[in-house]
Symmetry: C2
Subunit: 210 residues, 2 copies
DNA sequence: TACATTAACGACCGATCGTTTGTATAGTTG
DNA sequence: CAACTATACAAACGATCGGTCGTTAATGTA
């Protein structure tokens, strides 16, 4: 199982295809992502995919994996460089908004585009997407709990409640920025969480004023 | 152009088909809603649709119209029975949550399922969906502004900001309840808006405590 | 009664879907 | 070098897609 040149070349095109697939899926969803169009976008042939994946579902599963790793690298990891507590919590929110604002994915958010498709369709794909989202929300909850343990959030805070609010205010940027408000929703989402955290934090100077 | 029996019969099946279409689209989206499956669900034939609609896009446009009216009847109208101001604002939020919680549509929310599909695809359909959503958000903003005019919200409130928060906290119930938290997200969404309004309202007794 | 219109249908069209098959080729191993 | 393996392809498959066509039965109008 040594990685010789063949596998290396294969891995390279595999990664290139997955990157394209995640980008396309963030726009058209996992169903709209047809093998024909993906082939055209990557400059390969439809049948070439089956050298890398047994069927379309395997490709979709790997795309979910790829999107998860991308999210971790571009959102979670940068936020972890902020000091633990309420500052890291807000850094996490800002990192997400930066991800959206910079247009890393042409459709904004891979998981948002995919949720509506899989949530009513049981199967491995749905399970994998649901797990990724549960891990993400659990991660937010951990940051909230840590901020509380550090005394940086009022004791009256309920962890799951605040975590829901932070996630909701961030995620909805995708909808609002694309169909209605445009970039203004980024400002609204940032301020909503910032003011909420400042109101709950005994030492608001930990957070920017505006 | 008098409405004789033929047209009446046509209208009846037209409405029945549209109701099915909106329900199916709330689950599978407007693309997933294929004419073949819609025909099977309504017990008619594919080709029968073309007696009512020129092509699929016209059916989709009418489905958007139907979903808009349903939303108005089931959410907006009931909320308007509450006294203007902060109580009506919260009644609007609760009416939405009731709509989701009761499972009026099998997929939860028609517009949520459709947004991700149309937002990157210019055309009449996208325009119509975007208009419906802009009207809804503008309606929320009007209620916020009215509550402020009545002195039921602190003067520091920015209308668009608060409206964004209320809408985001409500809409995200669809995602969270279907892939992660389940019904708990309804509780989170309700409490988030309730506490936010109570904190901003000079007379919190206008709103329930919990 | 004679005629027009409508709802609804079955059969079929070209296009595209995911997938299979067979093949050519480049890289690795004995 | 020969034998083998992984990559990639063109061609074709059955299924399904949105849509057309011609027809039938029912309902209206003159």
């Amino acid at each position: 199982m040594t990685q010789d040149g063949r596998r290396l070349r294969g891995l390279r095109s595999r990664e290139a295809i997955l990157e394209q697939a995640v980008g396309l899926a963030s726009v058209e969803g996992l169903d709209g992502l047809s093998l024909g169009r993906l082939a055209a976008a990557t400059g390969t042939s439809k049948s070439g995919f089956f050298a890398h994946w047994r069927d379309k579902e395997q490709l979709q599963l790997d795309a979910v994996e790829w999107a998860s790793r991308q999210w971790t690298e571009r959102v979670v990891v940068p936020a972890m460089q902020a000091p633990a507590g309420v500052r890291r919590l807000f850094a996490l929110h800002e990192a997400r908004l930066r991800f959206y604002g910079e247009g890393v994915l042409p459709g904004g958010c891979f998981f948002f585009a995919v949720q509506a498709e899989v949530d009513d369709r049981p199967g491995t794909l749905r399970d994998r997407v649901a797990r990724a989202m549960r891990e993400w929300q659990e991660f937010i909850r951990r940051q909230v709990a840590e901020a509380m343990a550090l005394g940086e959030l009022a004791e009256s805070v309920e962890v799951a409640q605040l975590a829901y609010e932070i996630d909701a205010l961030g995620e909805m940027v995708i909808i609002h920025s694309r169909l209605a408000d445009g970039p203004a929703s980024l400002v609204h989402a940032r301020r909503a969480v910032l003011q909420r955290l400042r109101a709950l934090c005994p030492d608001p100077t930990l957070l920017p004023e505006d």
